[in-house]
């Protein structure tokens, strides 16, 4: 059979990329600058959803606590900014470092701290599997949620306001268009990284674990450590998304860690197509746009989402991405 010059998959991906690249000028030309910040939010949640897809779609770990890492990443940025404007030193750290507004430092810290949280939560959660794994990741996220509510220094339930977005070399993140492209660049970079990862030896171990972990162990793979590593990478990705989310809304609150947020991220992955990496981007766009449009008609917009989701789960195992790009090969 002849292969077409341009496959359906390449076409969908190419079009998507062009659309995302061209969005800010188009939005500005249409005088709808609001779209730029809406789509920044979509890109940020897409990043979180792609990171969840890594563990859910490739390693078969259904975490319902992924919002925890989003929240931790956001709080790292929020807390660093808080101390900078407050002038008080950071707790738990030696010296009297009073925070930073530098994106390079704050975002790196967000990635590292959320990776550390993922290491601890993952190490404990992975002693279970299946429904228990879902429940324990959920429980950890809720614990963090209540922990941050109890932190009155950082606003408790109300969270922390950022006076301004982080500073970035050569760019003004306060400008929505620049910020949008930074988000897009980071998302594309992360997707590329994940794409390499899922096709590497490490990635094959993940896929093997998803299909038949017993067989993996009997072949000699110490599956625990590889799955934990994957969980940590995913947590780090969500942490970066959290750092961006904090900048996007210039506000951080425990709500980011609430289990409904984790649920939304999972819905993005399932809706867009599990185990495809690109799908979760579509899922994030679909969910957030649906929310934006439907929420203006009814606050019970989730009622409409429910049937859509059931339809996707039952009839389109590769979600929106599978629907657009075709069934595709075994690697998405």
């Amino acid at each position: 059979m002849d292969k077409p010059v341009v496959t359906r998959k390449a076409l969908v991906l190419g079009l998507g990329l062009v659309l995302l690249l061209a969005l800010p000028p188009i939005a500005l030309a249409m005088d709808e600058g609001f779209f730029i910040s809406l789509f920044s939010r979509i890109l940020i949640y897409a990043l979180a959803a792609v990171s969840l897809d890594l563990i859910l779609g490739y390693a078969g770990m259904a975490s319902l606590g992924h919002g925890a890492f989003l929240g931790v990443g956001a709080y790292v940025v929020g807390i660093l900014a808080f101390h900078l404007s407050d002038g008080s030193p950071l707790p738990f750290l030696p010296g009297a470092w009073a925070g930073t507004a530098s994106a390079l430092i704050a975002w790196t810290a967000a990635i590292l701290v959320s990776a550390l949280f993922a290491l601890v939560i993952g190490a404990l959660s992975q002693r279970t599997s299946g429904v228990y794994f879902i429940m324990i990741t959920l429980a950890f996220a809720q614990m963090l949620y209540f922990f941050f509510i109890s932190l009155s220094t950082y606003g408790g339930q109300d969270g922390v306001n950022l006076e301004q977005r982080n500073t970035f070399p050569l760019l003004d993140l306060g400008d929505d268009t620049s910020f949008y492209y930074v988000c897009l660049g980071l998302l594309l970079g992360f997707v590329f990284l994940c794409k390499r990862l899922v096709n590497s030896r490490f990635g094959m171990v993940m896929r093997g674990c998803k299909q038949n972990e017993t067989r993996m162990r009997a072949l000699g793979f110490a599956t625990y450590r590889y799955k934990l590593m994957c969980f940590v990478i995913a947590g780090a990705g969500a942490g970066l998304a959290g750092a961006l989310a904090a900048n996007q809304s210039e506000f951080v609150s425990p709500g980011l860690m609430h289990w409904t947020r984790s649920g939304e991220i999972m819905i993005m992955v399932i809706l867009g197509g599990m185990g495809t990496l690109f799908g979760p981007i579509l899922g994030a766009a679909a969910l957030l746009l649906m929310e934006d449009v439907l929420a203006s008609y009814t606050e019970h917009w989730m009622i409409i989402l429910g049937p859509v989701l059931i339809f996707v789960v039952l009839f389109a195992r590769r979600g929106i991405y599978g629907f657009l790009a075709g069934p595709g090969g075994r690697d998405g």
């Binding site: 490490f202 017993t214 000699g220 599956t223 590889y226």
Partner: protein
Amino acid sequence: MDSPAAPLLDVQGLVKSFGALRASDGISLDVRAGEIHAVIGPNGAGKTTLINQLSGEMAPDGGQILFDGMNVTAMDVARRARMGLARSYQITSIFPEFTALENLAMAVQSGLGHHFRFWRNAKTDPARIAPAMEGLRRVELEAVAHSMAGELAHGQQRQLELAMALATGPKLLLLDEPMAGMGPEESRRMTDILLPLKGRVSILLVEHDMDVVFALADRITVLVLGKPIATDTPARIRANPDVRAAYLGESP
């Protein structure tokens, strides 16, 4: 024992209970290097339970397992596998969403290591793929190399699983009814695959098909209700009156 070399596998007084049921009731047996040692016994005799304890998937309540000069009784499954203990399952256990070739490549990768390699493409890595193809050839599955393993015929899946176990380059193969659910034609092919391994790979073979057992085994242990009632050469097992009464007499 007349052989001065220590056996490759030495099982001593293995005990495993499920509630009141003694699935392993003091099992002692050994497998010498290069030997095919068959374990036969009626349904529910505790053959799979024995294999599960040898592979490390079940912890025995008592007794010990020495493999390749090491006490592996408390060692986890993956480490035992890396020491050279490979197994197949009574109920086929493969990666259904991988191609046949990729199933083999996973087994090959287990021996290669470097599982924390994140960047280089594994699917085109000759270090994984070339030996994987070689392994498929050994079981005559190269024609279906690029078919999804889950879509292969039952007999082909059984062959694939055997090939995976072999591809790890094991010192000892634990085979749990490799012919389970196979027709006579498939069964014959499987025997043809196993025969050339005789003398080269040490095997602990659990099998119901007596023709296969008598064709392959150097020694046979008969297990009844979790207890070995005899261990001997095939000819003497066939002639053993206890065995005939307990087991062979029942099969046509």
